[in-house]
């Protein structure tokens, strides 16, 4: 019962704060011999599996390291192109680690803005009068909760679907934001939040929420 991450989005849709509390990384490392029976392709500056799902290696997983050495985007740590490296039989047997690729900060920025727009469209397509935007989005693996303040700031929390008490947590994060970011004379509105006290208090609010959520239905 975990809270995965927290995002804070400003009025214009830009990401101003992001914190990853818990990131489960399912990775699989296997030794392969020539020829490689997985089909790999370039996507977004990474090498990902496009066909050949087996043994914990799923379609969409990225190549994380080769022979224990972390890769650098599309190239190995030495600078060689990964796909060329795998075409050469002399490099085998090779041990490759696959897993879900971590989101780069650019990607997080884009996703936050994407959610900002989806939030608004959810309100526009409403069959009922006076609907807010998307407040909770559910998948089988996580639940995304969003709280929009009167000033247009959105606090977004990704948590385990069974985690309770997230509404109280969102209000608490708003309180922490107004106490340690807004009251900070060096903080400019709508800008990225770089306040140490905000980080500390946010982390302790998350810890409290995780513990409280474990004792059954919260507020």
């Amino acid at each position: 019962m975990v809270i995965f991450s927290v995002y804070v989005v400003n009025k214009a849709g830009g990401l101003i704060y992001q914190y990853d509390n818990y990131v489960p990384r399912a990775e699989a490392e296997k030794t392969f011999s020539y020829p490689l029976d997985l089909v790999l392709k370039h996507h977004d500056e990474k090498v990902i599996v496009s066909f050949g799902q087996r043994d914990g290696i799923r379609v969409g997983h990225a190549v994380l390291s080769i022979n224990g050495v972390d890769v650098n985007g599309k190239n190995t740590a030495d600078g060689k192109d990964i796909l060329e490296y795998f075409k050469d039989p002399a490099n085998y047997p090779v041990s490759i680690r696959f897993g879900r690729a971590r989101l780069s900060s650019n990607e997080k920025l884009m996703l936050a803005s994407m959610f900002h727009s989806l939030f608004a469209i959810g309100s526009q397509l409403s069959p009922e009068v006076g609907s807010s935007g998307i407040e909770m989005l559910e998948t089988d693996v996580f639940k995304l909760h969003c709280f929009q303040t009167l000033t247009g700031i959105k606090f977004i929390v990704l948590a385990d679907p069974r985690q309770s008490g997230i509404d109280a947590l969102l209000r608490k994060i708003y309180e922490v934001y107004s106490d340690f970011a807004l009251k900070n004379p060096f903080y400019s509105l709508e800008m990225p939040i770089r306040c140490e006290l905000f980080d500390q208090n946010l982390k302790s609010a998350l810890e409290v929420a995780e513990k409280a959520g474990n004792f059954g239905a919260g507020s």
Binding site: F4, S5, Y22, V23, P24, A26, R58, G60, R100, L103, E107, L111, M114, F115, S117, L118, I121, G122, S123, Q124, L125, S126, P127, E128, V129, G130, S131, S132, G133, I134, E135, M136, L137, E138, T139, D140, V141, F142, L144, L158
Partner: protein, 145 residues
């Protein structure tokens, strides 16, 4: 407790079927544009969820809720998308949507030699059975206008 409307999209994004039971507010744009916006929103939500997800997902995006309604989503492996808007009291309509697919869509559209897949669903039998099914749902109750 009520059902607002239902959309069915095919894998290319064209709206095959739309019906409403209890819709209070129109979107303010033409029906065609609304279908495109709905499909676009769901396409973006699916890609958003795939990237944001901390772990590999099995079923993917299930539903979202706002302060006034809840949107339920079901996608078949063939790319057919079923979208149901209900009020907030309905927590899980996935079984309903699955029933609509396997017992109504497959029975009355796919098995119908006259219905061309990929075009707007024209079958009156399908529409009437679907209407009867929705009205018979435990969480459907027509509100006084």
């Amino acid at each position: 407790m009520t059902v607002h409307n239902l959309y069915i999209f095919d894998r290319n994004g064209s709206c095959l079927f739309y019906n409403e039971w209890n819709r209070k507010k129109q979107a303010g744009i033409s029906k065609e544009e609304e279908f495109k916006l709905m499909y676009g929103m769901l396409f973006s939500i699916r890609s958003f969820v795939t990237k944001m997800s901390p772990m590999d997902m099995k079923d993917g995006f299930l539903s979202f809720q706002t302060s006034k309604y809840r949107l339920h989503y079901y996608e078949t492996p063939s790319g057919l998308k079923f979208i149901l808007n209900t009020d907030l009291s309905v927590s899980n309509a996935r079984d309903t949507l699955q029933h609509i697919y396997s017992n109504l869509y497959v029975e009355y559209i796919v098995k119908n030699p006259v219905c061309v897949l990929g075009q707007s669903l024209d079958s009156e039998l399908f529409s009437s059975r679907l209407d009867a099914f929705i009205r018979a749902l435990p969480y459907y109750s027509p509100r006084a206008a």
